[in-house]
């Protein structure tokens, strides 16, 4: 297995996953403006530029441990940061990795952006890093995320009760999904078929949402 070493850039048709950088703080802060975006995030930034800078610092700190590789999701049409995603729990011993800590400007929910991000991260993990397994997990209360993970083709495997302590002092129950290397050809074909559908990222200067997607955020 290769090393998940930074800096790594993964480029797709619509987005580029670029190494997370302090330079992205202002853009990410703007992308985070809808409070729904952070509702289920384990590490939610404070509602300020400093808050986003602190979140970025935290992920870059984890990157130094070798267990996390963070990315900024950049929309290629206008080069703007529209979210974050990560390799987490990079487990060289068991040749497994988690994709998570993902959030996306709600303007881009239900667009090909998330699908393409997963496609790029899975493809690199299975084909370049030669992992055996990719995991994903989410809060059991976050049904939107569970549906999105199921759409990606991952299998629901376990429900870990109260396994994470949230900032408000309550415990969350996590649902864990997995994709195995043996399933990757099927998952890849399905993601490619989803990504073959047309999409117009819209007018970049207006943050890019076709009017038909108005109300995509719940």
């Amino acid at each position: 297995m290769a090393s998940f070493e930074a800096p790594l850039t993964l480029t797709g048709r619509w987005i580029r996953l670029a190494p997370l950088s302090p330079d992205h703080a202002a853009g990410l802060r703007e992308a985070f403006r809808d409070p729904e975006v952070g509702r289920y995030l384990l590490y939610r930034p404070a509602d300020s530029l400093e808050g986003m800078q602190a979140l970025i610092s935290r992920y870059l700190e984890w990157q130094r441990t070798g267990a996390v590789l963070p990315f900024t999701t950049v929309l290629r049409a206008n080069d703007r940061p529209i979210g974050m995603t990560n390799y987490l729990h990079i487990d060289r011993e068991n040749r497994s990795v988690e994709v998570g800590g993902t959030w996306l400007d709600s303007t881009y929910w239900r667009t090909p952006v998330n699908t393409e991000a997963k496609y790029l991260l899975f493809r690199h993990a299975f084909e370049v890093e030669q992992v055996h397994r990719v995991s994903l997990q989410t809060n059991i209360q976050n049904e939107r995320s569970q549906k999105a993970i199921a759409r990606v083709g991952a299998t629901r495997e376990a429900v870990f009760r109260d396994d994470k302590l949230l900032a408000d002092g309550t415990f969350r129950t996590s649902v864990v999904f997995g994709v195995l290397v043996s399933e990757w050809p099927r998952v890849k074909a399905s993601l490619e078929a989803q990504l073959a559908r047309p999409w117009n990222p819209g007018d970049p200067d207006r943050g890019g949402s076709p009017s038909s997607r108005k109300g995509a955020a719940p």
């Binding site: 302590l165 415990f171 195995l180």
Partner: protein, 214 residues
């Protein structure tokens, strides 16, 4: 937390067992305790076959290195009546921010189906929930290891699912792991159940050094 924060030295004593900090000098006694290949058949770590004293020393070194990093707290299981070493229990994946921990065990197969496993669980769970105030204790096992699954279910741990091919066993097999947990709110019932099991007499309990440590 009123415990040590899962850092050594911690000593836990029951009626039959003393759980005390694992040491490199335990290698010979633990190699003897692990002389049945069945002990190693499903374990994710360890030599995978009855270990030599040297292999056991290497294994202990690996555990102590993880302990040094704060990820693990390992105990030698000592039979109080004879001083014989009969296995290792350990807290692993110690997750302080989430107040969660995993519990892992192996025992000399000559003591399978004796009260030793129940007592070690009573001591370890009591420490985790009562001294360290954890919220969640996780257990996992190989899906092929039915004996271990029954033992975990007898504890009253709740099955939570299976992570497919999640753990590479000695470089050549990806095992599917079954997961279970006990939450702090469930501990009083689990504890009472363990205490009831332990109140029954142990037929054939060793009162002095026996063949088990020859």
């Amino acid at each position: 937390m009123t415990g040590t924060g899962f850092r050594p030295p911690v000593v836990l004593r029951g009626r039959y067992l003393e759980l005390r900090p694992l040491e490199r000098a335990d290698a010979a006694g633990l190699a003897e305790a692990g002389s049945d290949p069945e002990v190693w058949r499903f374990l994710r770590i360890g030599p995978g076959h009855p270990p030599t004293t040297g292999e056991m020393a290497t294994f202990i070194d690996e555990l102590l290195a993880m302990q040094e990093k704060g990820e693990l707290l390992a105990f030698a299981m000592v039979l109080r009546s004879s001083g014989a070493l009969v296995g290792i229990v350990r807290f692993l994946d110690i997750d302080r921010p989430n107040r969660a921990v995993e519990l892992g065990t192996w025992i000399d197969s000559r003591y399978w189906r004796t009260p030793l496993n129940a007592e070690s669980k009573l001591l370890m769970l009591g420490y985790a929930f009562e001294e360290e105030q954890v919220h969640r204790v996780q257990l996992k096992t190989d899906e092929r290891n039915v004996r271990s699954q029954r033992a975990i279910e007898r504890l009253g741990a709740v099955p939570e699912g299976r992570l497919r091919e999640a753990h590479l066993v000695r470089g050549n097999f990806f095992r599917t792991s079954l997961y279970y947990s006990i939450l702090a709110g469930e501990w009083p019932a689990v504890k009472q159940h363990l205490e009831e099991r332990l109140a029954r007499p142990w037929e054939g309990a060793p009162s002095a050094p026996t063949g088990a440590e020859s």
